[in-house]
Amino acid sequence: MLAGIAAMMLPTVIVGDYMTGLLVQALLFGMVALLTDIIWGYAGILTFASAAMFGVGAYFMGGAFVHFASTPGSAFLAVIAASACAFITSAAIGWLAFYSRIRVSEFYIAIVTLGVSVLMGQAILYGGALTGGSNGLSGFATFAALNQHWYGFVAALFLALLYVSTRVVRSDYGLVLKAIRDNEVRCRYLGIDTPLVRTVVFSVANAAIAVVGAVYAMFTTVVAPSLVSMAAATNVLIWVILGGRGTLIGPALAAILITTLTPQLSTAFPLYWQGFLGAIFVLIVVFLPQGLMPFAIERAKRSFQSAAHKRPVDRTRQTAAETYFTRTNNPNGISNAGSVAKLINVSKRFGSFQACNDVSFSVDRGELVSIVGPNGAGKTSLVRCIADGDERSSGSVEIAGISIGREAPEKVVALGVGRKFQSPSIFGSLTVRDCLQVASWRGKAPSWWRRDAEVRLPDGAADVVEALGLDEVWDQLARDISHGQRQALELAMVLALEPSVLILDEPTAGLSTAERERVGEVLLSLVASRRMVVLLIEHDFEFVKRISSRIVVLVGGELVADGTVSQVANSEIVKRAYLGKSHEKEIK
C-alpha cells in the first residue's frame, strides 16, 4: 500500500505543474471508469448515466461555490447533496428498470439511463443563472492549493477506491454480483432479491461518481455542459471496453492513459489523433473483445507457464470429497403439519392458448408426487405457477397454508419452494464450487467485505455432489462440464436451499441409468428423513413408478387422473395418451 502511494507520488516530482494538473483530472476520470466498471462489468447494468452523475456532482459543487461561498462547509454540503441526488435518481432508475415484472433486456436499462442523461443535459442547458446555461459555471474561487497537493489528495482517493472496490468485488456479494450477471433468473430462484442488490450497487456507485464530479469541479473551477454530453457518456464506456470489462484496474488505466495522452497527441497530430483513437478502438473491439487488461494478464500468465500448454485434464480424484465442503446438519428440519402445497383451480393462459385449466390438488408432507403427461400437456406451466406468483392467470396456490399471492420467485423461495428448471440453469462463468456456495447462502450472502472460504452444504446437496461426482469437477467452470453434470449441479444448488417443497422438472434428462438410481435414492431419503415434498416431472416412466408415492396426470392442461402408482399406471388414459406402444412391449 505504502509502496503504491510512493509510486503514485513519483510523477509529481518528475513532470511539471501542467502535467500534474492533467494527472489529477486523469485520476478522477479513472475513478469514474472504475465505478462504471462495477456497474457494468460486475452488476451487468449497461449504463450511459455515468457522465450525467459526474455532472450532478460537478454542478452541485460549482453551484455552491458560485451562489454561496467557497468554504469547506458549503463544499461538504454540496458533496452530500450531490451524492444524495445521484443516489435517489439511480434508485428511481433501478425501481423502473429492475422491479418491473415485465422481463426487460439489458438494453432497456441502457435506454433508460440514456434518457436520464439527456434529461439532465437539457436541464443544465436551460437552467439559466443557476447552471450558467451553455456557458456553464466558471471562474469561481476554490481552495488555494498547489497542483501537487491536489494530486496527493486525489491519488489517495483513487487508491482508497481501488482498495475498497477490489475488496467488494472479491467478497461474498461480489460473487453474487457475478452470479446475477450470469443468470439473473436462477438467482431469483435461489432466493436472491436481485432487483434490490442491483439497485443498491447502481445507486451507491453513482453516488460515488457524483462525489468524484464534485472534486473535479473544486479542482478545475470549470463546469461546462459538455461534461454531461453524449460524447462524455460514451467516452466512459469506451474506457471500460478498452481497459477490459470486469477488471476494475483496466478501465481506470485506460481512462488515465487516454486523458493524459489526448492533449499531447492532439496538438502534435491535430487532424489524425481522433481518427487514430477511433481506429484503435475498432481494432481492440474486433481483436481483443475482452479488452486490454485481460489480454495483458493472459500474456503474462502464458510467459510464466508456457510449458503447461494444452495439458490434458487431470480427472483423477485427488482428495476425498469431504475436504471440499462441510456438511451442515439441520436437525430442526420440518414439522409434520399437514398439507404443504395446495393448488386451487389454477389456470394458465398464453393469449388464447390454455396451458393449464382449473387444476386443483394438494400434496402432504413426505409425499413424492410425479406429474406425468404427453409433451405439451402443461406440466412445466403448472409448476411455474407454483414457484412464481405472477405466472398463473387465475386460481390460487398455498405453500404451508400461506397464499403465494402475486409474489416474485425470490419471495416464494422464502416460503420453502425450490425449483429445478427443465434445461439446467446454472452460472456458466462460475466454478462448480462457487455455484454451490452462492446457492448455500440462500439469498443472503454473508458479507460485502470478506470472502467465505468454506462451502457449507446440507445433507441433500452434499449427497448429490458425492453421488454424481461433482467433486471431480469442483474447480471447473460450470459451462465446461457436461450436460448431465450441469443437471446434477443445478439439483444440488436447489437442494442447498433445503426447500420444503422441491419442484424438479425432468431432473434426470442427460443422466445415465446408474446416476438416475442415485438421484432417486437421494430424493427418497430426503422425503423420508426430512418429510420433504417433491413434485417431479419426468418421462422415464419406470423411474416414476419406482419412486413416486402418488402420480397426477395432465392431458391438454387438465388434470385427468390423480392416484397411487398402480392406479394410474394401469389406467386407460395413461396407456392411450402417454405410453403408447412402449407400454405394450412392457406387458410382453
Binding site: R315, S512, A514, H539, L579, G580, S582
Partner: protein
C-alpha cells in the same frame, strides 16, 4: 465406397482442456451407430468436433471423403450432414415453420412444403403449431421440432445428441420409427449419442462405448450380451 465418417485419433476440447483424447471411429454409408457413455465422457464434445464447432487439436477425420480440417461448420452442413444438438438452439422469436425453413435453405419452396408434410406426418402436433413462436412451445415440443429440423433437409448423415431427452415414451417410439424409415427409404447414415440404452438397442446396429474421451469398446447389438455389456458399463 467412401465412408460417411472416418476419424483417426482425433483430439479436441475446450480451450486448454482436452476432453477427447484420441478417438478412432468409422461409419460406412448406411450405418446406424450409437455412441454410449457416462456423463462427462466426451460424447457431446465429440459431436461438436465432428460438426467443426470445436477446434480439432489433433488427429484427422473425413466426412464423405472430404478432409474435415479444411471445412467450416456451414461447409460441413452443406455436405449433407445435419445435427440435432443436445441443448435447444432455436430462434425463439421465429415461428416453428421459420425455424424449420432455416434448417433447409437449400430447398425450393415446393420441396420444402413436401418435406414439411413428412415432418407433420411424424409429429402431427407440428402441423397445428407451424405459425407459433418456438420460444412458446414446451420443452418436449421443442425437442420434436429439433428432430424435425435435423431430418428436413434430407441429410446423408444425421447426428442426434440425446434426442429422446424430454420426450414422452410414445414419442420416443415414433422418433425411432421415423429414423428407421428414413434409413430404409433414403439409406441415411445415423450417429446417435445416447444414454437411453433401450432406445439405441432398437435402432442402431453398432455401438461404441466412450469413457474419459477414449473409445473403450466397440461392438454390434446383434452380439450376444451386447446390451448387458453396455448397461454394466453405464452402471460402474
Amino acid at each position: 465406397m467412401t465412408p460417411a465418417l472416418e476419424c483417426h485419433n482425433i483430439r479436441s476440447g475446450y480451450g486448454d482442456m482436452e476432453i477427447i483424447a484420441g478417438i478412432d471411429l468409422k461409419l460406412d454409408v448406411g450405418d446406424i451407430y450409437a455412441i454410449v457413455g457416462k456423463n462427462g465422457a466426451g460424447k457431446t464434445t465429440l459431436v461438436k468436433t465432428i460438426m467443426r464447432v470445436l477446434p480439432l487439436l489433433g488427429g484427422s477425420f473425413t466426412l464423405f471423403g472430404n478432409d474435415a480440417a479444411k471445412l467450416s461448420t456451414n461447409q460441413v452442413v452443406s455436405l449433407g450432414i445435419a445435427s440435432s444438438p443436445q441443448d435447444r438452439p432455436f430462434f425463439n422469436d421465429l415461428s416453428v415453420e421459420e425455424n424449420l425453413r432455416l434448417g433447409a435453405l437449400g430447398q425450393s419452396r415446393q420441396q420444402f412444403r413436401g418435406e414439411i408434410d413428412r415432418i407433420v406426418e411424424m409429429f402431427p402436433f407440428i402441423g397445428q403449431r407451424l405459425a407459433q413462436k418456438v420460444g412458446t412451445l414446451s420443452g418436449g415440443e421443442q425437442a420434436m421440432v429439433k428432430v424435425g429440423r435435423a431430418l428436413l433437409p434430407k441429410p446423408r448423415l444425421v447426428i442426434l445428441d440425446e434426442v429422446t431427452e424430454g420426450l414422452q415414451p410414445m414419442i420416443v417410439d415414433r422418433v425411432r420409427e421415423v429414423l428407421l424409415r428414413d434409413h430404409k427409404e433414403r439409406s441415411i447414415t445415423i450417429l446417435v449419442v445416447e444414454q437411453n440404452v433401450d432406445f439405441v438397442a432398437g435402432l442402431a446396429s453398432r455401438y461404441g462405448l466412450i469413457e474419459r474421451g477414449c473409445m473403450v469398446a466397440e461392438g454390434r447389438f446383434s452380439d450376444s450380451g451386447a446390451r448387458k455389456r453396455i448397461t454394466d458399463h453405464l452402471l460402474v
